[in-house]
Every structure is written in C-alpha cells, then in structure tokens.
Symmetry: C2
Subunit: 282 residues, 2 copies
C-alpha cells in the first residue's frame, strides 16, 4: 500500500492519530520537501516518529517516482506532505503512477493553508479563486494574477494569495556548467508581496491615465485593507490587518507567509474578527 | 483556556495527536452537532476518547454560549467541530464571545470538506466561490446559487456545492403550539441536488426561449459533467463522475454528500484523475 499522509501545518503533533499509526508500521517514509515547509523541521519530525525520513525533492518526485513506489505492492510505503495530500499537482500525479502499476493508495487528510486561513475570521465560502504571487526578477515581472484579484473583488469575494517558494533552484552558472549548484532557499514574505502589488497598482494607475479602461471601483490602491498571515496553525502564528502600503513595512518573521485581499464589503462578524489583528499591531 | 478542535472528516482517529492530548485533560467537552456530522457517530467518539461528550445543538451554541464558556478562564474546556474549526460562522462568533470575557482561545486545525475535495483530482486553486444548495419546498425554491455556478464557469473555475443539512428543525405544528417537536434529520443527497439543478436548467432554458439574454456558453445542461462525492475522508468514501441527468439516479449511500461542477476546460491531469471515477461506475 502506498500512503500519502498530510502533516498539517505546524508541529509534529499536528499529524492525525491515523497518520501516525500508519507511519510507525511503514518500510520507508518519504518527506516531500519542495512545495511547502513544516515550521518544525525534519529533525524534530524524525525524533517524534522515532523513524528516519527520506527527503524527496522535486527532482526525485518528478523523475524518480519508480524509486519511491518500489515495493509498495507488497510493503507499506508512506509519502508525507505538509498540509493536505492534494495541495499540489505532483502528488496527484504520483497517485496516478501508483494506479498504473496496480499499487493501492490510501490518503490521510489534514489541514492545509486552503482551509486554515479561516483563522483570520474571513469566511471560506466568501473566497474566490486562489492565486499565486511569483518572485519577480529584473526581466520577468508577470502580473496576470492581479486581474484575478480584481475579478474576485467584482464578485464580492476574498482572494487568498499563496506566496512563492524557491527551493533547490539551480544557479544560472550551474545550468551552464552542468554541475549541480543551488541557490539558497527563498520564501516570499508578505512585505515582498505587498511591494510587488504596489508596483502593479502604480503601473495600472499610469495605464488608466493613458486611457486604458478604468476599473477603479474594483481595483486595489495603497489604502486597500489586506491581511498578512505567517506560520498559520503554529504556536508563533501572526496575523496583521492593515493597508497595502503599511504591509510593505511589516516584518512577520520566519516563513511561510500568506496574504489575503478581503472583498470591499465585509460581513459585520468578519469585520469584528479582523479588528483584533489591527489592534494588536498598531 | 477554551479549545476549538477540528475532528477531520471520518473516523475517530482522524483527530490530530495534539487535539487528542488536549481532550484528555479537559474538564468539559462539547461536540457541535448541527453544521455537520461525523460518519462514525457520538458513541464511537466517546469510546475512543474514554470521555463523555456534551452534545451542543444550534440552540445551545447560539443562545447558551455562556454555559459553554463557563469556567474556561481557569479550566480547560473543549469544543469539538467536525472538519475544521472555522467551517461555520457560529464558531467564529463563539471565539469572539470568549474574547469579550477575557478567555484565551486556542485552535486545533484539521481537514474539512473545503480542502479534502481535492481527493477527486480537481485542483483546489481552480475552484471559484463555494455555494450552498438549500432544500426546496412547495413554496420556496431559491435558485440564485445557479448564477454563481455560471460566474465560476465563465472564469474557468470549478464550483464546490455544499448540500443542505436539516437537523433539529422544528415542525410547523410545534411552532404554533410553542411545544418543541422536531422533524427527522435530513441530509441532501447528490441525487436530490441534481434534481433541483435540472429543474433550474429547465426553467432557465424556457426563459432563454422567451427572450431573456442567453448565457448558453457557460450554463449547465443535462449532459454537463458533474462529480458527486459521499463520505469524503471515510473508508466508505465514494466518488462518481457522470452527467447531471445521470447523477439524478445515483445512490451514493449515507450522508454527507457534496457535489462539484467542474469547469468546461479540464487540465489533462484532472481529466485523467476523474476518469477512474467514471469507469468505476459505468
């Protein structure tokens, strides 16, 4: 049996009892290490389970799936994923490959950022499409996600923004040399995300002045309310509600960070709940 | 401390290790019983925890919150919720009331239908606004949720449809007599939901023929692909992918059921994954 087990968001004991019992009787245990990170780190997990974990990076999952699945027709193999097993496309792909080989799979669900962001008091059924904000560089500054935020605002919906993670990114040099060298891991902060959003807002406003159709009513500006979340589900969780321009100067500490753009028409209960995160900080 | 603990979706051992350890040292433990149901039932939970649970129905949570929170400033009180603590507005309200009283609260997250529906292979970040389909009666047939499905389809997004639950609904007679009598609990099935959707589709098509602006391109019809899910996260989980009209005749067994309207432009991986649920059934 091939088990894909969600670890939840924060501590080793955020695993479910079901998941922990399965891990204890597995032959090999892989820990997926590139779509997310657990606040507690690998060593703490190994200590907690009393078992060694094999780190599975992107290259292993995408190119050496056979190795991971090897023997799972007769033995129990576990693949651990931060959050819920269905948070990333590659895990779905892994399940399909197992099925092709006639290997039975079993899923153990857990909390993920997709439902845990309810902790800021914004109701999950008022959220529209989730977007990802990618790191920009000097020559590549995609901004199409901004249109999705605007579409959500138009329909009175909140937007969850997942912030970019760069783990095991090869350096440009190593690509040319064909020798593997990696850049240090990077996790986008709410401050960096706010900075990129402000740049887009400025560009669009310039565009509007130049005659491009205005969508002012449903667009963002410097004073738009946004919510920054760090280490959701962990003891050190932090939530801040402030304006977009203020968010640029916030330091919410270590990763992972997420951002929410609330709709412009909050339910009274949502407003009341958010208020506590504005007070705390200002 | 007042703990709100998510139980996940299926079995007693879907609780997290953290949640279970907290329950074991609490003075009183409430089990919320009206926004959802756990497949396994109250008795199995009590046996598993080795503790008695106090059932908290809608009336208790909305009108006797003081009773639930009593003593939580000095003792540990737990409030158990199927899925994740932030799945329903009333739990957010309970947290605010605790805060007003100066009682500290702590949240233990878990999987909920909002993220676990990823199990059908449709990617969570391709979902738009979640809708609720209410039970109709002879005189009350609201259909505004249909417009939200159409809006999602227009933006290439899937729609999760949460299906109505009627628990402890007073009978009309009892309202008049001022004597409490309740109707038997009802949980909408994917078949019932498909039936109501087909009625709306027929009405809208008649409307279009009468000259109302056509939105044919992004509307549903009898042959639209839909996905029915039952008891997600539980051993007996069932997923069926078929046309809307076929879904009307499906029996997916005991509650809870949910329905997904996929967008018309599936990613190849989503299509491949869904296929297995079409094969199983046809």
């Amino acid at each position: 049996m091939f088990y894909i087990i969600g670890l939840g968001l924060g501590d080793p004991d955020d695993i479910t009892v079901k998941g922990l019992n399965i891990i204890k009787q597995c032959e090999r245990i892989y820990l997926e290490s590139y779509t997310s990170i657990l606040s507690c780190g690998q060593e703490k997990l190994e200590e907690y389970y009393g078992r060694k974990l094999i780190l599975a990076d992107r290259e292993m999952v995408e190119q050496r799936a056979d190795e991971i699945l090897d023997g799972a027709d007769t033995q129990s193999i576990a693949f651990l994923v931060v959050g819920d097993p269905f948070g990333a496309t590659t895990h779905t792909d892994l399940m399909l490959r197992a099925k092709e080989k006639g290997i039975h799979t079993s899923i153990v669900h857990n909390a993920s950022i997709m439902n845990a962001i309810g902790c800021c008091g914004l109701q999950l059924y008022h959220f529209g499409e989730t977007i990802s904000i990618p790191y920009w560089d000097d020559s590549w500054k995609p901004d199409s996600f901004y249109d999705k935020i605007v579409a959500n605002l138009k329909h009175g919906l909140h937007t969850l923004c997942l912030l970019d993670i760069k783990v095991k990114e090869p350096t440009l040099e190593s690509l040319m040399k064909k020798k593997r060298e990696y850049m240090p891991p990077r996790f986008m902060s709410v401050s960096e995300a706010a900075g990129q959003l402000l740049e887009i807002v400025a560009n669009r406003q310039a565009g509007e002045a130049d005659g491009i159709e205005s969508q002012k009513e449903h667009s963002l500006n410097e004073n738009s309310l946004i919510v920054g979340l760090a280490r959701v589900g962990h003891e050190t969780q932090q939530i801040v509600a402030c304006s977009l321009i203020e968010m640029k100067d916030k330091d919410l500490g270590p990763p992972l960070h997420s951002l929410i753009i609330p709709n412009g028409n909050l339910h009274p209960l949502e407003k009341e709940f958010l208020q506590q995160f504005a007070e705390l900080d200002q």
